[in-house]
Amino acid sequence: MTQLGQNRKVTVAMRDYRQDFPALQQDVNGHPLVYLDSAASAQQPASVIDAMAQYARTHHANVHRGVHTLSHRATDAYEQARDKLREFINAKSRTEVVLTSGTTESINLVAQSFCRPRIGSDDRILITHLEHHSNIVPWQLVCEQTGAELLVAPMDSRGQLDLEKLYGLMTEKVKILAIAHVSNALGTINPLQEIIARAQGLDIPVLVDGAQGVPHMAIDVQELDCDFYAFSGHKMFGPTGTGVLYARESLLDAMPPYQGGGDMILEVSFAGTTYNDLPYKFEAGTPNIAGVIGLGAAVDYLQSVGLANIAEYEQQLLDDMTRRLADIDGIRLLGTAAHKASVQSFLLDDIHPHDLGTILDHQGVAIRTGHHCAMPVMDYFGVPGTARASLALYNNADDIDRLIDALEQARKLFA
């Protein structure tokens, strides 16, 4: 049990996971690093780094096509990672786990390969006001290409979706609903089960942007009953340049390829080309083999900690941080939904977020400042950007103390 002080007991039995992460063992500007920017990218545990280094040192070769030993080893390790990911999100089959370069590519794949061929100028694509740019722009592109209209379901001042309005927008013209699991700017956890059930009842396919979902809670795509679920490796303690698109097999079967090239084909001739089986049909070119192996190791790591434990621990840390932030004179919290993941946007007095970020960085505290790739959210609140602190399993009460202290110093400097 970690004691945080009289009223601040974290009751989940969490050991200090900080020591598993090499990057956290350093000083920044003369102070021990406090990393509160996992929502932008999470740090990697040594086991992930070692897995990738080990691969590069001992069994790197191109996958799938070789007959020699190293190629077999590389292929096994790569495909094993895919199996781990399938289990991680409880997909029915490995044919439903497409490996991509990240959430952004995953969403673009669905936009171009699933949506674009099926919609026309009479149709609608439905997203929400909370979305990250990577779940807005791919749909804007499809609308430009097809003449379809983009509909945006509104949010309220707490950062919660207006469900009534969202449901009101779900007409038979809507050909896809694209929605975040968790808002990266505001931390809001959308009530996906209810929303997806509603959409399925109206035959509206649903894509979930799960980038901020997978680091914070156990994901079960069958239970969610979504058609597509996209996420990134680097937000869940894996390396950058990796990600997953989960999609129902029947949909992937019916979709044309996204990118053409090697690996996604069975036979190529100038008379015609046949495509590979799933999921390879959507994996053109040599993949990020090392990255995927690292991502597999990240899955192992997360499962050894336990997503349920992580979720509970983070909630308690979040509650603690929120309360202490709210106590600071002049603080403005943005994103106060009833159900949140451990992300908190805020502003302090008139201090521009970038000035806050610099002052905090100077004290070793890393937060993110700016629009967080969610300009519509910033526009809603009438601000150019916010400061954002995000918590992960390696943060603790001391980190929150340092954040609060650093903010007090900023306030004094600008007073």
Partner: protein, 162 residues
């Protein structure tokens, strides 16, 4: 004012960045607003950062800057820099103002110490020098100055220092 109360180990650099002069100009920017009869203007935008400003100048026939104003929003560094800029250039010739552009941007971005010393005595603008210890913020300080050059050279497109 407030920099003295700081309880941080290496506060000096922060104090140099956020000097009283900078904070004062950030909070109460001079010549803030539109200029109705502007002869020259330019926009400066750093979209990744969110700093946005529009600089307005009124030059007479002899190319002397009669008036200068700016509007926009951004971090303390960008606003203070724009404010100090307007104070500096009013009454100067366009040519002298461009010399200041070179002096300021060189001083803030140049890593060659010889080149550094050779620039003008910056006067009040010395206050901006603290930004040299914060490389990610240099673009905030130089945005208004690039807008100045853009305005004087009548370049139509918005300028960015990102």
């Amino acid at each position: 004012m407030s920099a003295q109360g700081l309880n941080i180990d290496n506060a000096q650099e922060l104090q140099e960045l956020y000097r009283e002069l900078i904070l004062d100009h950030a909070r109460s920017p001079r010549h803030f607003g539109k200029l109705p009869h502007a002869t020259h203007s330019a926009e400066g935008i750093n979209p990744l950062c969110g700093d946005k400003l529009k600089l307005y100048l009124d030059l007479d026939d002899a190319h002397t800057i009669r008036a200068a104003c700016f509007e926009g929003s951004g971090c303390a560094i960008s606003v203070a820099s724009a404010s100090l800029l307007t104070e500096t250039i009013i009454g100067l010739s366009a040519k002298d103002a461009l010399t200041w552009f070179t002096a300021v941007t060189t001083r803030l971005t140049c890593s060659d110490p010889v080149k550094q010393i050779a620039t003008l005595d910056l006067g009040k603008l010395e206050a901006l020098e603290g930004v040299r210890q914060f490389p990610s913020r240099v673009k905030c300080a130089t945005l208004a100055w690039h807008a100045l050059r853009s305005a004087l050279q009548q370049r139509p497109a918005p300028v960015s220092t990102e």
